[in-house]
């Protein structure tokens, strides 16, 4: 079992890697790169300033990992680093030009000039493999006490220790690390948190320009919320700062007020926002929708199977057939109308994420959309089980129908259902596109099509990566669940020791 799981996880990781790589190669080689500026308002604004426009575009390409780009200032710095004795300036002299050319040739860069100022800059096309290498190389970032190297702060202490911190209480506190609090506890799920391992999926562009993709997908949204904290200097105040996310800030860019408050160089904090992240919104709605759909679907299927051929069965066969036949969008609008008559807001932002009633519409609609599948299949499995010999025998040994359904048929019929639950969650999260659009819900469902339209390559790749990961592992989870419910199924590689 352990051996099997190990190899299965290994294979899962390989398949995630393959899918992501293929998506990466396709997106970055087949989508014309100039398309990323199609909807960018900055292009219009900079139209009168060709140099800035060039700089803006090359910077954008750099952020998206198409090229390496150094503007004049950085180029001079690079050249000077290589020739410490030479005096390099922006002036268009032959000497400068020679040095730039030399450096560009040595490092494989292409020397260009801005069209107006005629200043030099360099670019280098990143080969696809190098781009991939960077993507995977930066994918997982592990924080260590040796993570920060700051020339302006040579005496930065380097340690990891358990402390009863004044602000956050007991925590694993680091110095020399990117994050101050490596492991900490608080009242929000899952109660134990860490800042040691972080995913870096690149930078979002052109939508959510400049933000880390992980923040775009996983960062909280909406208005900031203030919480009362006691700071290391003893001051107690309300702040929207998320003190748990304190990151290193170089003394060269120190904010004196924050520095006094925290009494160290970890003053770079995120804000606390009130609404869940995009992924959180989708997961929350998807999870409850899943539960709701099974809570509705299973009893109906059970009743239909028990009363097979009777009016109850026929009625719901009709209902389910209609649900499956009518296009999803029509159903969403119909359900939304019905729910709004019942008092639920028909748009998510009307009351916002903090109001329970906002969640009712999307969740119920999502659930109802998947109820029909559950009912059809679970009824089918139950009916199959009803006709099996062991049910006949159970009846002959004197069990009532009720007992037979509860102890035998239900459990047997749930085996295939149990296996499908994790994949169903994925379906609900990633398939919520229409529902989220109709309810104007700030979730992840419509992000993939949105980012494809906006040519936000990094987000596309990140979503492919996330969906693949969840998808692959949910299949694995489904198999594990199934092996728990069904003793006949043992997760083992062939040749593995079978324990009888």
């Amino acid at each position: 079992m352990k051996k099997y799981l190990f190899f299965r996880v290994l294979r899962s990781i390989v398949s995630i890697f393959l899918v992501t790589t293929i998506a990466y190669i396709m997106v970055f080689s087949m989508v014309p790169r100039r398309d990323i500026f199609k909807q960018d308002p900055m292009i219009q604004k900079l139209a009168n300033d060709p140099d800035s426009l060039t700089d803006y575009k090359e910077n954008a390409y750099r952020k998206m990992n198409y090229i390496d780009y150094f503007d004049t200032k950085s180029l001079i710095a690079k050249v000077e680093a290589e020739h410490p004795d030479a005096k390099v300036t922006t002036a268009h002299t032959a000497a400068n030009a020679k040095l730039f050319k030399e450096w560009a040739n040595d490092n494989g860069y292409k020397l260009n000039r801005y069209s107006v100022s005629k200043n030099y800059y360099v670019t280098r096309e990143l080969p696809l493999l190098e781009r991939l290498g960077r993507f995977y190389g930066n994918l997982i970032q592990i924080d260590t006490p040796w993570a920060i190297h700051d020339k302006s702060n040579p005496k930065l202490a380097r340690y990891l220790r358990i402390e009863n911190d004044k602000t956050v209480g007991w925590a694993v506190v680091g110095s020399g690390t990117r994050y101050r609090y490596q492991i900490y506890f608080n009242g929000s799920f899952p109660f134990i948190h860490q800042n040691i391992i972080k995913f870096n999926l690149g930078t979002s562009y052109p939508t959510f320009a400049g933000n880390a993709v992980t923040d775009v997908i996983g960062g909280r949204q909406g208005q900031t919320v203030s919480t009362k904290y006691k700071f290391p200097n003893g001051q107690v105040m309300n702040t929207a700062d998320n003190v748990y996310t304190r990151q290193y800030q170089s003394p060269s860019r120190r904010n004196q007020m924050s520095y006094e408050r925290y009494e160290d160089d970890y003053t770079n904090v995120d804000q606390v926002n009130q609404d869940p992240s995009m992924i959180g919104t989708s997961v929350r709605a998807g999870f409850w929708a899943l539960i709701l759909s099974y809570v509705i679907g299973i009893p109906i299927a059970l009743g239909m199977a028990r009363l097979k051929g009777k009016w109850f069965d026929r009625l719901f066969t009709g209902v389910v057939t209609v649900l499956m036949a009518v296009p999803g969008l029509a159903l969403i609008y119909t359900f939304r109308y019905v729910l709004s008559v019942a008092g639920a807001p028909d748009s998510f932002p009307t009351k916002g994420a903090s109001a329970f009633s906002s969640w009712v519409g999307p969740t119920v609609v999502l659930a109802l959309l998947s109820v029909s599948g559950i009912v059809i299949w679970f009824r089918r499995y139950m009916v199959d089980q009803q006709q099996s010999d062991y049910v006949k025998f159970a009846k002959s040994k004197g069990l009532t129908d009720r007992e037979i359904y509860r102890k035998h048929i239900f459990k047997n019929a749930s085996i295939p259902v149990v296996q499908g639950i994790p994949s169903n969650i994925i379906g609900l999260i990633s398939g919520a596109m229409m529902t989220e659009t109709v309810f104007a819900m700030p979730g992840m469902g419509k992000m993939l099509p949105d980012s494809i339209i906006a040519h936000n390559n990094s987000v596309v790749i990140a979503l492919v990566f996330i969906f693949t990961t969840i998808g692959v592992f949910s299949v694995l989870l489904g198999d594990v669940l199934m092996s728990i419910v069904d003793p006949r199924i043992q997760l083992a590689v062939s040749g593995d020791e079978q324990n009888g």
Binding site: K392, F393, G398, D486
Partner: protein
């Protein structure tokens, strides 16, 4: 036979069963009357579709949904089973009074519950024992039905058992509540010959110990000879002959019984073909006129095609439904192949036994 053994535990009178199949009525059981005595083993034989299983299903109210008893009564120990309306009332009979062992042990057990829980489930249900008591009784029962290391194997799942072992478990479950009647619906058909013999031995032993009556459904006359006290022969939903084993084997009266006995594989020798009954059984959808077997009967009289024969009494225990027994009928001898059946079978079994002893000796030696 003593008086007590002759006590009738199950009385079937004039029972008819019909099925509704796609708007048509199928008459599966046609006016059957039958008694089951306390402590006896009654074998019901007949070819596929003759109504053997349907008949016994009516005893436990387990007819398929489209079937119903259209006439007659079944009386068990003074209780009218034909009056039972719903499952709630039947639950008191099923398992507790009348238990059934089905043909295929591979599928008779719930694949995802442990063997033990499936036995103790019944004990808890019918005898109101606590779980730990039930477990103790279940383990005892498992040991009794020949499961080695019963306590350790209590928590095993059916897929970890062989077919023979599973049938032992099925029998253990059936006997868990000490039923008065055990219906064995071809319990050995799906098993190999050696296991078959073991299961038959087991049933016989357990019958001694627990004192129940057996209704044994089979089309294997060899099995019948080794286990039954009485035999009922069925054809097309009709009971055509009933008698003790000796009477049926050595003094059969109905031409169908003759044919059935003639087709015993034990009677075929190297140089003769195995006898088979020509033709097919009649359709049960239409009303059968006269003797149902008449069209396939080489001895059929004219009257056989016109009127249904009554049940003629031959001895106190032997009855047959054929016009040949009418005083006006011509005297017809049973076919030659089944004369001296006793000697023939004995001879055959002897040589079989010798052969088996030889092969077993070889197996043991190796």
């Amino acid at each position: 036979m003593s008086e007590e053994e002759q006590k009738t535990i199950l009385k079937v009178r004039d029972l008819s069963v019909e099925f509704q199949v796609r708007g048509k009525t199928l008459k599966a059981i046609h006016h059957v009357s039958l008694d089951l005595h306390d402590g006896e083993t009654l074998a019901i034989v007949g070819e596929s579709g003759s109504g053997k299983s349907v008949l016994t299903k009516t005893f436990t109210g387990m007819l398929e949904q489209n079937g119903h008893v259209s006439g007659g009564t079944i009386e068990y120990n003074g209780q009218m089973l034909t009056d039972l309306k719903n499952d709630k009332q039947w639950v008191k009979i099923r398992g507790k009074e009348i238990a059934t062992v089905f043909q295929d042990p591979m599928t008779s057990l719930d694949p995802i519950h442990t063997i033990g829980s499936q036995i103790s489930e019944v004990i808890v249900k019918h005898q109101g024992k606590s779980k730990s008591e039930a477990k103790k009784m279940a383990i005892e029962l498992m040991g009794r039905t020949g499961i080695p290391d019963a306590a350790e194997r209590y928590g095993d799942y059916p897929f970890e058992y062989s077919g023979g072992m599973r049938q032992r478990i099925v029998i253990a479950i059936a006997l868990a509540c000490h039923p008065k009647i055990l219906i064995c619906d071809e319990p050995t058909t799906a098993l190999d010959v050696t296991t078959q013999a073991q299961i038959l031995d087991l049933i016989r032993d357990l019958k001694e110990e627990y004192h129940f009556s057996i209704i044994f459904i089979t089309h294997d006359l060899g099995v019948v000879a080794s286990i039954a006290d009485r035999i009922a022969v069925m054809y097309s939903g009709r009971l055509i002959e009933v008698g003790t084993v000796d009477e049926i084997f050595y003094d059969p009266r109905h031409p169908y019984t003759w044919s059935l006995l003639s087709s015993l594989p034990q009677l075929a020798t190297k140089d003769t073909n195995l006898y088979s009954i020509p033709g097919t059984p009649p359709s049960l959808y239409s009303e059968i006129k006269g003797d149902a077997f008449a069209p396939r009967d080489p001895y059929a009289l004219k009257v056989d095609f016109e009127r249904e024969p009554p049940l003629f009494k031959i001895t106190d225990t032997h009855y047959a439904r054929t016009w040949l027994l009418d005083p006006r009928a011509p005297k017809i001898e049973k076919p030659e192949i089944i004369q001296n059946l006793h000697e023939r079978i004995e001879k055959q079994m002897e040589s079989d036994f010798m052969k088996r002893a030889e092969t077993e000796g070889e197996v043991n030696a190796s």
